[in-house]
């Protein structure tokens, strides 16, 4: 029995990890684009982006997931296709969208947090804007945003479980399935171990990264 549960949970957790990885791959760069929009000197764009960020951060991710998955269908569009792959695509889109808004605010804080004197020092030394960004500003931004980004990444591992609401077959779904089929509740409880291991490994990795940047102070 244990082996059956184990293999079912593994399959579910693989889906969890896929969602986690795709969300990061999509949301980390998209967040940067959104943050640039929210700092734009073109006021209409700035306020539009800020409104979107407000809506995304101001409503539950679970609700966004439901709207993104079921919304198009209500309007007569079948964007996501049916079945498990449709659920997965819709979930990934919702997660990328949601997390990129959170990341964008972290980026904005990081970029605005670099003292203006750093840029000016580069300018008076005859450096180009691009050189200043890559050789002066970037590493300071990364150092600044790493702790809050780490926090979001750890939260993301656990947030993937919200996709249970549209029956994506991730690890919680896989554990819960044993309640219905075999009347067992421990597989569901056991899924906690998967999250603990994953967040534990991530914590160690992210701490290492932070230590790597501790040779200088900002």
């Amino acid at each position: 029995m244990f082996l059956t549960v184990f293999s079912a949970l593994n399959t579910g957790f693989l889906k969890t990890l896929e969602l986690f990885a795709l969300t990061l791959v999509g949301a980390l760069p998209l967040g940067l684009i959104i943050s640039l929009g929210s700092m734009s000197k073109f006021k209409p764009l700035k306020y539009l982006v800020k409104a979107i960020i407000w809506i995304v951060r101001g409503t539950p991710l679970m609700l966004q997931l439901l709207i993104i998955y079921y919304g198009p269908g209500l309007l007569g569009h079948n964007w996501w296709g049916g079945g498990e792959s449709g659920r997965f695509i819709a979930t990934t889109v919702a997660f990328i969208f949601n997390y990129s808004c959170y990341f964008s605010e972290i980026y904005r804080g990081g970029i605005e947090g670099v003292p203006i004197g750093q840029r000016e020092a580069g300018e008076v030394l005859g450096m180009t804007k691009i050189q200043i960004f890559f050789r002066v500003t970037l590493l300071q931004v990364i150092k600044r945003i790493l702790p809050p980004i780490s926090n979001e990444i750890i939260t993301l591992v656990k947030d993937t479980s919200l996709s249970r609401i549209i029956a994506l077959q991730e690890v919680i779904w896989a554990g819960q399935a044993f309640m219905k089929s075999d009347g067992l509740i421990w597989p569901l409880f056991f899924t906690g171990v998967y999250f603990l291991v994953a967040s534990g490994i991530l914590t160690i990795f992210l701490d290492k990264l932070e230590k790597k940047l501790s040779y200088f102070r900002i």
């Binding site: 020092a121 300018e123 005859g126 450096m127 040779y215 200088f216 102070r217």
Partner: protein, 264 residues
């Protein structure tokens, strides 16, 4: 011919006019100090000269070359301003060292990037980079930081950081070196080491513009002192004249106030 001519510079921020017609010139090897209370426009003037602010009116001429003319947009192209900046060096009040680089790397970084634009860079890469390194080490030695050059800014005292910042500006071999209150962010016991470095540059005939609140230092080091108030140069002259026998009422008031506080 003066190395620098500043002609009729005006600058406003919104409704506040900060500079209201500034004229002065500077000869090669000369040291000019600018004194005046906070808000008199000294720092804004220095920032205009270094292209960190764009004057609303006026001209900046270096060696007879008009680098900036508010009436001539051709002198304001971003790509050319970058090159023009290299006539000037600027040492900031708050040092603004790059925290992720060692003292040495702070000094060589901009040069390293600049030499890549040289046509012979690829052939002579080794030699060029060695030159930069050697020059940087020499400059750091001259400001007394040879043994600290592999440390990061946060491992250095304020005075040492400011000396690295001076070395960083010198490494670009500017025609004119500008200082924006170089000791104002320092603890009193650390100002001496920085002023000593600036004094030795003055003795070596480095052309400099120094915005400072250190009156005694301005008196010792300058060939000419400008007193600014309310966005204009109220009075200028040799340190002996300006400190010894100020002509203008506002200059007298400022100096009295300053030396009163000093002697209390």
């Amino acid at each position: 011919m003066p190395i620098l001519e500043i002609k009729d510079i005006y600058k406003s921020f919104g409704d506040t006019s900060v500079l209201k017609g500034i004229d002065f010139s500077l000869e090669k090897g000369e040291v000019i100090s600018m004194i005046g209370s906070s808000g008199s426009g000294k720092t804004t003037l220095l920032r205009c000269i270094n292209f960190l602010e764009t004057p609303d009116r006026g001209k900046i001429i270096v060696n007879g070359d008009t680098l900036f003319d508010a009436d001539d947009p051709a002198t304001q192209k971003e790509s050319e301003i970058r090159k023009k900046r290299l006539h000037f060096g600027l040492v900031f009040q708050s040092f603004n060292l790059f925290p992720q680089y060692t003292a040495l790397k702070n000094v060589i970084l901009a040069n390293e990037l600049l030499v890549k634009e040289r046509p012979d860079y690829k052939e002579n890469r080794r030699a060029i980079e060695n030159d930069i390194l050697e020059k940087a080490v020499n400059i750091l030695t001259s400001v007394g930081l040879k043994d600290k050059m592999h440390l990061y800014p946060h491992q250095l005292s304020g005075g040492q950081q400011q000396r690295v910042a001076i070395a960083r500006a010198l490494a670009m071999s500017p025609d004119i070196l500008c200082f924006d209150e170089p000791t104002s962010a320092l603890d009193p016991e650390l100002t001496g080491e920085v002023l000593k470095v600036i004094k030795s540059l003055a003795d070596g005939k480095t052309t400099m513009i120094i915005v400072t609140h250190e009156m005694q230092f301005a008196r010792d080091v300058s060939d000419k002192v400008l007193f600014m108030d309310g966005g204009v140069i109220v009075e200028s002259g040799t340190p002996e004249d300006l400190f010894g026998a100020p002509k203008e009422r506002r200059t007298k008031q400022f100096l009295e106030r300053y030396f009163d506080i000093k002697t209390e």
